[in-house]
């Protein structure tokens, strides 16, 4: 199967998967920060390769990306991405620090990694109980770089099977400090079928 062959019903269901996963993760984030965090309606983005890099505000935008590889009943990746300044604010809220350097120190680095771990963990746990599928995430890996470079990693995975990329993307916003970020679930192409079928949809 190809990404292009998904119909509207399939897309709706993938959007709902994003809704439940991101909803759970956003609740976890809200508790962690002890602040209200709002979530956007999830988007199922089917893109050409050329569009991928600009999805997070431009190819050269400095972002923090946390990537986990997924295995078990489905294969793929999960990313938690936010602009560098937003990541910095998020860490500052948590640690009470006011650091404004252009890099993350060791403590900030591990704090960010832990935030990513908790949020993607809540996302995947709810996805797992919804679908009754076993999803094993790898240890999260953090990188700070240009959005285009970071997003090339999942894009290349799609490149192996076709010419379109599918992201289940959900944004959140913590209004008081204006922190926005995205959860991106990136199942590989055979895993779409498994995900949809686990919810009783034939494909």
């Amino acid at each position: 199967m190809k990404v292009e062959s998904l119909n509207d019903t399939h897309i709706d269901i993938l959007r709902e998967i994003g809704n439940i996963g991101a909803g759970n993760a956003t609740t976890a984030l809200s508790k962690m920060l002890n602040k209200q965090v709002d979530m956007n309606v999830p988007e199922v983005k089917i893109m050409d390769f050329g569009e991928v890099a600009s999805t997070l505000g431009g190819e050269e935008t400095k972002v923090v990306g946390i990537l986990l590889k997924l295995s078990g009943d489905i294969d793929g990746m999960m990313m938690f991405v936010l602009e560098f300044n937003a990541a910095k604010k998020l860490i500052n809220i948590l640690t009470g620090d006011q650091g404004k350097t252009s890099d993350l120190n060791d403590l900030e680095h591990s704090a960010m990694q832990e935030i990513g771990n908790i949020l993607t963990g809540s996302y995947l746990t709810s996805l797992s109980s919804l679908t009754n599928l076993t999803i094993k995430p790898s240890v999260p890996n953090l990188t700070i770089d240009m959005a285009g470079a970071v997003l090339s990693v999942p894009a290349i995975e799609f490149g192996k099977v076709g010419d379109k990329v599918l992201f289940i993307e959900t944004g959140f916003k913590e209004a008081e400090n204006d922190v926005t970020g995205y959860y991106i679930l990136i199942p590989d192409v055979p895993s779409f079928k498994i995900l949809l079928e686990s919810l009783g949809v034939t494909i």
């Binding site: 050329g50 190819e59 240890v139 240009m146 290349i156």
Partner: protein, 163 residues
């Protein structure tokens, strides 16, 4: 200062220009930017390849996506613009490993494999690689000038280098 027109090359795309202007690729990660230049005719070409080998993949219609098919296509397009293969030189950038997982699996080594495949494809065509800024663990933006053949490489937190 005169303004120079820039042509942006996205993932799995390639393009050529002649005499003036700049070819650019923003935020190269594990992909490789292959730059070719004929300094006599001042024809510049750039390909943004994502994967090493089209023969390993069933959906391989897009020739610009793979190192082995992008190189001959780029050369052909440049020749149609008046360039000669014997005048061409190559510069490579990209092929980074953006995430460093402990297990060295296939997915994470794709940057390195892209670099090796790009070198191989150029060697097959007899085109000399005069400069490289490849692998490592960071993203790169590149700009190739059709006027001079110079390739600028920009990365976050690093000095701009000229190849």
């Amino acid at each position: 200062m005169k303004t120079v027109s820039k042509v942006k090359i996205g993932m799995a795309e390639l393009d050529i220009i002649k005499k003036e202007g700049i070819l650019t690729t923003l935020g190269l990660g594990s992909c490789v930017g292959i730059s070719l230049y004929d300094k006599i005719e001042k024809v510049a070409g750039m390909a943004h390849i994502m994967l090493p080998d089209s023969t390993k993949i069933s959906h391989n219609e897009n020739k610009a996506k793979f190192a082995d098919t992008a190189v001959p296509l780029l050369i052909l397009k440049m020749e149609k613009m008046g360039a000669r293969k014997s005048n061409m030189i190559a510069k490579l950038a990209g092929g980074a490993q953006m995430f460093s997982f402990a297990e060295k699996d296939d997915t994470m080594q794709v940057g390195k494999r892209n670099v090796i495949a790009s070198r191989k494809a150029l060697k097959k065509e007899g085109i000399r690689i005069v400069a490289e800024d490849v692998e490592k663990n960071y993203g790169r933006t590149i700009e190739l000038s059709a006027e001079t053949g110079k390739l600028l490489v920009k990365s976050i937190g690093k000095e701009i280098t000229e190849l």
